[in-house]
């Protein structure tokens, strides 16, 4: 599976500092079409920063990020247009509390992609069906459980038919019994061929869905490879230490 499609996302020597803290010190990463890349690493190892850089929510200090071959870190590029090609799901859902579930999902199709309101509603309903929440269309986000909110957030990202999905700790804020419904959904997306980059603390899930697991340490990709190898038989001492702490 790995390396089967064209590269969708390529990171070359990406650097990012916050003040004196160097979070990313030259990250190289390639994500192919249909591939699921899972980032693991200790808190503060830069997993979220990496995703934020890819979504252009942070300006990189150096290095290059290519989306379908186009250098999106070039300041001449329209960042909004680039973001419109990616779907992002956040740890805290970040649904808009003043909009109904349906309006959350139709906002970007109508306002960004110029889809007619009727079509957008149809597509949004199909997407809510897809995540199993059609009956919640008129509800407010605050009336949903965490797992339901996260599924709406996934629907909101998916409705724009993104080239790439970025998922930042999407199950970390959920109760354990609600984690399953979100992970099942992501597993189905993978089977449908969606390209995804995600970071997670769920090593079991990483093992199941990942084509490639990347261990971030010291601001670089310290080790990467198929999940069986990185999680089961890591070559690097640091990776082994990290995994033993996670599993303990």
């Amino acid at each position: 599976m790995s390396g089967a499609g064209d590269p969708v996302l390529v990171l070359e020597e990406v650097r990012k500092s916050f003040g004196a803290t160097e979070v990313l010190r030259g990250v190289d990463l390639t994500v192919h079409e249909g591939q699921v890349v899972v980032l693991i690493g200790a808190s503060g190892s830069g997993k979220s920063t990496l995703l934020r850089c890819v979504d252009l929510l942070e300006v990189v200090d150096d290095g290059r990020i290519r989306l379908d071959g186009e250098d999106v870190t070039d300041p001449r590029v329209d960042a909004d247009a680039v973001r419109a090609r990616m779907g992002v799901v956040f740890q805290a859902y970040n649904l808009f509390p003043h909009l109904s579930v349906l309006d959350n999902v139709t906002l970007a199709p109508v306002r960004v992609h110029g889809v007619a309101a009727g079509d957008a509603k149809e597509r949004a309903m199909a997407m809510l069906e897809r995540v199993g929440l059609p009956e919640k269309a008129s509800a407010r986000p605050d009336d949903l459980s965490g797992g339901q909110q996260q599924r709406v957030a996934i629907a909101r990202a998916l409705v724009n038919q993104p080239r790439l999905m970025l998922l930042d700790e999407v199950t970390s804020a959920l109760d354990p019994e609600l984690v399953g419904e979100v992970l099942d959904l992501l597993r189905e997306l993978k089977d449908e061929g969606m390209t995804m980059v995600l970071n997670t603390h769920e090593m079991g899930f990483a093992r199941q869905v990942a084509d490639t697991v990347c261990f971030l340490h010291g601001g670089v990709v310290h080790e990467q490879g198929p999940p069986g190898q990185v999680l089961g038989d890591p070559r690097q001492e640091r990776t082994r230490q990290f995994l033993s702490r996670v599993h303990a």
């Binding site: 020597e13 650097r15 500092s17 916050f18 003040g19 004196a20 160097e22 010190r25 030259g26 200090d61 150096d62 290095g63 290059r64 870190t73 070039d74 300041p75 001449r76």
Partner: protein, 285 residues
């Protein structure tokens, strides 16, 4: 940009920075040029209008401005004193009303009722009317022990009226603090009052500083309304100066002084708000 000493930016990054810098310079140049252009056009239109010499003489006479300045400044000093004293009283009364309106439970019903009726009444009544009623009515009662000065009763009217507005600003702030904050405070064993005092109000007040500042600036100007009771504030002083020769320059002087008072106050609030970690609309996203 933070170029850490541990690495040298690549040629790519250097080029990107150069491009960003050139864009920034261009943006600054465009905005600067357009500002100069607009201001220039407006000034030209003004100065070339047929009635300009007459208007300049009537509103912008330097000699008249110098002559009127001392009287207007003396009036302004009254505005400032009224604003400062009333500002403090309004903040206290407004906060008290807001807390009364947000107290829960059936026991506190009379408090809530009082605060609600008060706010409804004094927000509805025109300020000028309150000033007239208190300024002319209260002294007429001839109650012993109460001052009969117009300044005192005018200031009372300002406090009563503005407290109603300010109470609603505070209430909005109090209600904007998430219920989980109260829950966390109560869970630590803090009483209702302690929760208000140490957890809710500090957050609420911080959030409503910008609208409160709005009310303070508004008060600074409305403090002049007590001139109807015969007190001489900046505008009244300007009016008296104007009455001698129908030259309106003193009004312009008073207006300029009011603006000069407001601007440092606004910058001060911005500064305080930033120091407290509130970014507001102008902050970085």
């Amino acid at each position: 940009m933070t170029a850490a000493p541990s690495w040298q930016p690549s040629a790519l990054e250097v080029e990107r920075r150069r491009y960003r810098r050139s864009r920034a310079v261009r943006s600054a140049a465009v905005s600067g040029a357009s500002t100069v252009l607009v201001v220039g056009v407006v000034l030209t239109l003004l100065v070339t209008s047929p009635g300009w010499p007459r208007v300049r003489e009537t509103f912008l006479s330097w000699d008249k401005a110098v002559a009127a300045f001392p009287a207007v400044v003396e009036g302004l000093w009254l505005n400032i004193r009224v604003m400062l004293v009333c500002g403090v009283l309004i903040a206290l009364l407004g906060l008290t009303l807001a807390v009364m309106r947000t107290v829960r439970g059936p026991v506190a019903f009379p408090l809530r009722l009082f605060a609600t009726v008060y706010v409804d009444l004094f927000r509805g009544l025109p300020l000028l009317l309150v000033i007239f009623v208190l300024g002319f009515g209260a002294p007429a009662l001839r109650l012993s022990g109460l001052p009969s000065s117009a300044l005192f009763w005018g200031a009372c009217a300002l406090v009563l009226s503005y407290s109603a507005y300010v109470a609603e600003v505070f209430r909005a702030g109090i209600e904007s603090v998430h219920p989980s904050q109260r829950a966390a405070a109560r869970s630590l064993g803090l009483s209702y009052g302690q929760t208000m005092r140490h957890v809710v109000l500090p957050q609420a007040v911080r959030r409503v500083v910008p609208p409160l500042m709005n009310d303070l600036v508004s008060l600074q100007k409305d403090s002049g309304l007590i001139a109807v009771l015969g007190v001489i504030d900046a505008i009244r002083a300007a009016q008296i100066e104007t009455a001698t020769d129908f030259n309106f320059t003193p009004y312009v002087v008073a207006g300029a002084l009011f603006v000069c008072l407001t601007i440092p106050m606004a910058r001060l609030t911005d500064h305080v708000a930033r120091k407290q970690g509130f970014h507001g609309a102008g902050g970085v996203l």
